[in-house]
């Protein structure tokens, strides 16, 4: 179903329009209904009425959702490319859980409290977990096959999550704060939370967006990529490093959000074909639209309360995951 150039340009425009639409909905809709006039004046900076204040709070929240979604979509596409594994996802390969555990340990035992430390700790945790999952999957015959990676990722994620719980449980002082963060959400995001993660997001984004040709070669398999003059180890380290930066920074800001990185690249490949020069930018845009849309949905379904976006993406992502496995394309990417 690979489209011609005009078709893929049209698809890209459609995705961009979707991003714009979800962003507008995210500013306009919420647990509290706000009149259009208030939305417009809030966008111009007025925060006099309750409605205007609600809208003003939705602006950084929307920006955070767009950034986190783009980062997770991009990271998922890169991880699927690096591992040649259609089931690769920052949530499934333990990367987000590793970042979460590192942050929880940092808060509980080392009293870290600056944003820069959160991000650094999260990136370290994400990288460490990714490496452990890969090494376990690479044990035994056949190397790190897609299935072994998924199993190893599930096992390590389970271990990391229970360890995280074990760290948090005896600490009533941090429990409430950490628990709500662990669900994964963008509610309550402020501009002062967004600024510190920007450098890591930009750096990770640039690294991943600069590697589509490497990923295109890795997709042909290690041997064919080597035959075409690619240094496979360098290509993998670059792309995985970029993805881990993105995941670590996103987890530090929003908590571990799953399934965006899994679902988005699949959708993009189905529409645009397997060329990473198109899949990567499309995954960033689609991820932004999906996470922002999921956040809006979470605000609307439980009015006047809210459901965190991490729960909404899991509800969407679970069935999609099963569909991908049943489609039987797990073996080759």
């Amino acid at each position: 179903m690979t489209g011609t150039r005009t078709q893929s340009r049209r698809a890209m425009l459609g995705i961009a329009a979707l991003v714009l639409l979800t962003a507008m909905l995210s500013v306009g809709l919420g647990a509290r209904g706000v009149a259009l006039a208030d939305i417009l004046s809030a966008l111009q900076g007025q925060v006099e009425t309750i409605g205007q204040a609600a809208v003003a709070a939705r602006i950084p929240r929307t920006l955070m959702a767009l950034l986190a979604g783009a980062a997770l979509g991009l990271a998922g596409a890169a991880m699927q490319g690096v591992t040649r594994n259609p089931l690769a996802d920052p949530g499934l390969l333990g990367v987000n859980a590793g970042a979460a555990l590192a942050i929880v340990i940092g808060i509980a035992w080392f009293n870290i409290d600056s944003a820069a430390l959160y991000i650094g700790t999260a990136v370290l945790g994400a990288g460490g977990a990714g490496i452990i999952v890969y090494l376990i999957a690479a044990l035994g015959a056949g190397g790190a096959t897609p299935l072994k990676l998924a199993l190893s990722g599930a096992a390590v994620t389970a271990a990391l999550v229970s360890f995280t719980t074990a760290v948090v449980l005896p600490r009533a002082d941090i429990g409430g704060l950490v628990q709500s963060w662990l669900v994964g959400g963008v509610g309550g995001a402020t501009f002062s939370q967004i600024t510190p993660v920007l450098p890591a997001l930009v750096l990770g984004g640039v690294i991943v967006l600069a590697s589509p040709r490497r990923l295109n070669l890795l997709a042909l398999g290690e041997e064919a990529a080597t035959g075409l003059g690619e240094s496979v180890a360098v290509a993998r380290a670059m792309s995985a490093g970029g993805a881990i930066l993105l995941c670590g920074a996103t987890t530090a800001a929003c908590g571990p959000i799953g399934f965006v990185g899994l679902v988005v690249p699949h959708a993009c490949r189905a529409i645009l074909g397997g060329d990473y020069r198109r899949v990567l930018p499309a995954s960033a845009l689609t991820g932004a639209a999906l996470l922002t849309g999921a956040d809006v949905l979470g605000r609307l379904v439980a009015r006047p309360s809210e459901i965190d976006v991490g729960i909404v993406t899991a509800l969407i992502g679970g069935p999609v995951f099963i569909w991908i496995v049943r489609r039987g394309r797990v073996a080759a990417l």
Binding site: L220, T226, G227, G229, G273, G274, L333
Partner: protein
């Protein structure tokens, strides 16, 4: 296209301490087709991998026109030495044109501008392999034989003087095996590309290769023209196989027929008993 020399000197290599190649010396005939044959686990695929960057030798060297293959920059090497792995897997949703175009990677700059030269090389590769009509199809939807021609087209688009292939006919029906070997011979005759391939099927190897290399237990047992290498003595030593070798009535090359224990004519049974 210039014809490059490929020499293997005292090459020893293996995996994780297990030494598989035990000091190989071999001159690959430039501009000719060389087939490496031997029983399973004799080291023939390992030799092919060690001739490229897939496997770093423990000692010895592989020289392409006098410079070591393993000391050459990866992309520079990929412009001169092509490699087609055994049973390569195409990624999901990739078209024939896209896959063949990826063969141009080593010729492109860092920013990957697509030149008229790239365009021409891809068009020629599609034409030579008869896959131009398939250009917009998805690779996954093709038959095994078509798919292998597409991978060969990708290697052709790379425009190297030397092409290494690991069992290019595995998993193919016999008609497609012949088709692929005919295609490689066309390429060799038209462009002078030096071809080195590992082949399982001895009669096809003898039929299509200019030179045969027979390997046994990590060493070269015999090397030369098919008529010199494919003999009853060699089959006994390398494959532990009793067989007759006769002239192929179609090509005049040697043709191997295993004796086995069953299905023999009466006179052959007599002979086998003696």
């Amino acid at each position: 296209m210039s014809v490059e020399s490929l020499s293997i000197r005292a090459l020893a290599a293996g995996y994780g301490g297990a030494r598989i190649l035990k000091g190989i010396d071999l001159e690959i005939a430039p501009g000719q087709i060389t087939a490496i044959v031997g029983a399973n686990a004799c080291g023939k695929s390992t030799l092919l991998r060690a001739m490229s960057r897939l496997l770093t030798p423990e000692s010895g060297e592989v020289l392409l026109d006098g410079t070591s293959v393993h000391a050459t920059a990866p992309r520079a090497l990929a412009r001169r030495l092509g490699l087609l792995p055994q049973a390569p897997q195409a990624p999901e949703a990739i078209t024939v044109l896209d896959l063949v175009s990826r063969g141009r990677h080593p010729h492109q700059g860092i920013f990957g501008g697509w030149s008229a030269q790239d365009e021409a090389a891809v068009a020629e590769a599609l034409e030579l392999t008869g896959t131009d009509a398939l250009a917009e199809r998805e690779v996954a939807a093709l038959s095994g034989g078509q798919r292998q021609r597409v991978w060969i087209a990708m290697a052709l688009a790379q425009q190297t003087e030397v092409l290494l292939l690991d069992e290019p006919t595995t998993y193919l029906d016999v008609n497609h095996q012949v088709e692929v070997l005919d295609l490689l011979t066309d390429l060799n005759r038209r462009r002078g590309t030096t071809i080195v391939m590992v082949l399982h099927e001895l009669n096809l190897a003898a039929r299509y290769a200019d030179r045969l290399v027979a390997m046994r237990a990590g060493e070269i047992h015999a090397e030369g023209a098919p008529g010199e290498v494919l003999t009853e003595t060699m089959l006994r030593a390398v494959f532990d196989l009793e067989a007759r070798v006769m002239d192929d009535p179609v090509s005049g090359r040697p043709l191997m027929i295993p004796l086995g224990r069953h299905g023999l004519r009466a006179n052959e049974r007599e002979e086998a008993r003696r």
